[in-house]
Point group: none
Chain length 400, copies 2
């Protein structure tokens, strides 16, 4: 169903929804035990929610497709990630809490190494330290070119964000990064006539940066890619008639929540602190996105046991959430991050939805295996929001 169609039937009510996202929750079985991280963890509270609620397996993008963090979350927020895309430059900016303004054009930058012929010898400049990156960014930050300011902020190691700020800019630009060693950095080319001036400014910036970095071997050049402007997505308040709030310790997820119009709440970074933030603000919003990063971090590190412990920690914190008596609780991930793969994967997300109005299935515990036979079946994650709204009695009948 299209957002415009949901907008027609969504209504504001006092009922409350909590969407608890354990980042990278889905896993793969440990070779020794045949059990995934979630199946290994002792999770009496999640199991109770699964038993009383309904379960299933969700695909954020499409079966077989490994989602990045943005598509994974946008799908859970109800936005088709194949249509609502966030450019790489904007994502990098979101990831460091950089406040983008309307009209800004953001690009992801790499410091790189070029030889005396101008050919790239290392696309990551030997992965310089984050401290060195910050120093170099200070050299480049604040150039003014033809009434446009260039704001340069470090991310991590060789990565930075470059933001062009001024009037009449366009992000319809090609990358300067040739994504290959031995090639020269490419000129930024306008992909539409409207972007001609922005391309000129971007190329001027690159030339100025090269001059400023000449003596800074190995980081003696920059590569830019993924030019993008802040997306103009419909807000959750308009589409779903919600007053939504986000609780997330990491900038990227706060940024993604902002993109769909959530209020980002101040919070501490531990799981305990995030649950406390939920309790403190529970009266003031009717939708909460609560993001737990540590599951994904453990999976990315290939640390099966740590991922198990994080899941158990979340389970222990759950009674604080349950005691608030939200009308609907959804627990899932934004993608799978099996410790065995040390990265995001395509495996579908285990999901549970708990509400007074569930027609409970026969699932007895919250695990990937059990979710296979849940009544939600295997379904696109974009259905999660309509299902949550429905169980919170926030959707009118469609048609007469």
């Amino acid at each position: 169903m299209e957002l415009d169609q949901i907008r027609e039937i969504a209504k504001s009510t006092p009922s409350k929804i909590v969407l608890l996202v354990m980042d990278g929750l889905g896993g793969l079985p440990h070779p020794k035990t045949g059990k995934t991280e979630l199946e290994t963890a002792n999770t009496p509270n999640l199991d109770r929610l699964a038993r009383e609620g309904i379960c299933g397996l969700a695909d954020p993008v499409s079966p077989g497709i490994t989602p990045g963090s943005a598509p994974g979350h946008l799908a859970l927020f109800g936005y088709d990630p194949l249509r609502f895309t966030v450019g790489r430059g904007v994502l990098e900016a979101l990831g460091i809490d950089f406040e983008l303004k309307d009209g800004d054009v953001a690009a992801r930058g790499n410091f790189c190494t070029i030889d005396h012929c101008g050919l790239i010898t290392d696309r990551r400049a030997g992965r310089i330290s984050t401290e060195t990156c910050a120093e170099l960014c200070r050299l480049l930050d604040g150039f003014r070119l033809d009434d446009v300011s260039v704001l340069v902020s470090p991310v991590r190691e060789h990565r930075f964000v470059a933001v062009l700020r001024g009037e009449g800019l366009s992000s319809e630009l090609s990358d300067s990064d040739p994504q290959a060693v031995g090639a020269a950095p490419k000129d930024v080319v306008p992909l539409h006539a409207i972007a001609a001036r922005t391309a000129r400014i971007a190329n001027q910036f690159i030339a100025r940066a090269r001059a400023a970095l000449a003596s800074k071997h190995p980081a003696n050049m920059v590569l830019l890619r993924g030019f993008a402007q802040y997306p103009n997505f419909p807000r959750m308040s308009e589409v779903f008639k919600l007053k939504p709030a986000a609780i997330a310790a990491y900038p990227m997820y706060r940024g993604l929540a902002k993109v769909v119009g959530m209020k980002v709440l101040d919070t501490g970074t531990t799981i305990e602190e995030e649950f406390a933030t939920l309790a403190e603000n529970f009266a003031d919003y009717d939708f909460f996105f609560l993001h737990i990063k540590q599951t994904d971090s453990a999976g990315e590190d290939g640390d099966f046991e740590r991922k198990v412990r994080v899941i158990e920690e979340v389970d222990r914190a759950l009674p604080r959430l349950i005691d608030l008596k939200p009308d609907v609780i959804v627990v899932t991930g934004d993608h799978s991050t099996p410790s065995l793969l040390k990265g995001h994967s395509w495996h579908p997300l285990p999901i549970l939805l708990h509400s007074q109005w569930c027609r409970a299935d026969r699932v007895e515990d919250f695990s990937e295996k059990a979710c296979v036979n849940g009544s939600l079946g295997r379904f696109p994650a974009t259905h999660v929001m309509p299902l949550a709204l429905a169980h919170a009695l926030k959707l009118e009948k469609f048609g007469a």
Copy 2:
């Protein structure tokens, strides 16, 4: 997900995929036993793959829709069969290994019977023998009309293929076959201005054929339908970055494999010989489509027991495939052909996917009933390729 989007994330790797298609695999329960052909067959190897892998039920076109061989296969190859259609004339040509050239216009032909008023009395000319058909085709083959050659080749019984070969032809033509007894054959009409000359030539051919067949009662006239040109589909090598090969004993399936750019391997026609061809060529390609026709033939003949025996023969051959250690094995059909219906049916396809990176479900054997509860759920067959590529680690992350 669109092919263009998959193209963006597909990458070439050394990992190998085998897609084993038992044509018409799905069945219906025998009234005496309550078991389908697949459930009746003794299949220890398929059961093992199902137990270790993931299972589900796939719909090639859409639930309830009975697929022809072309849509059934195109869906498995990842091409939406509602968008990627192959004209009837081209399919007939593929079915007899007729080598179509770019620009050729192919039509399916019937020999038919007309009375002295020119009205059709039998659309199939009493189902003349294939030998008679071949004789008559020789009478019509090789006409030249306005610099266009007409190539006429027998198919089976009253059916033949007519191919117009020359410059500037178009297949935007109506059928001459009125699909009714008692009516006169219709003129071929151009559906676009560009096809006016081709229509004229087609009508000239029909008039010449009628004259040549005047004394050949009951086969004294021809009917043409399904004018079509060879489709210009994206190749699997471009979209999926694969080096694909096809092993198929029947021309139609070799033809469908060629349409998506597979290399067709020489093979014998028995199941044993086809598996031997796989082993001999295993080093040289990274995707294999292995087609078994005999399951469908038995189903079409309504021979439940023979279909069971064919499935068991494939199961006995399977260790040869498994021993090659492909990274991903997919086993399914292109449609169901229940012996009870003696023809293709709409019932979804049992499917199993086996790989090191499966998150195994609780399915214990390969059967229609067990597949209902597999983790793939019920899904469109066009997802089979992305799932196979994902489990072969041939897809990059979508979005950041």
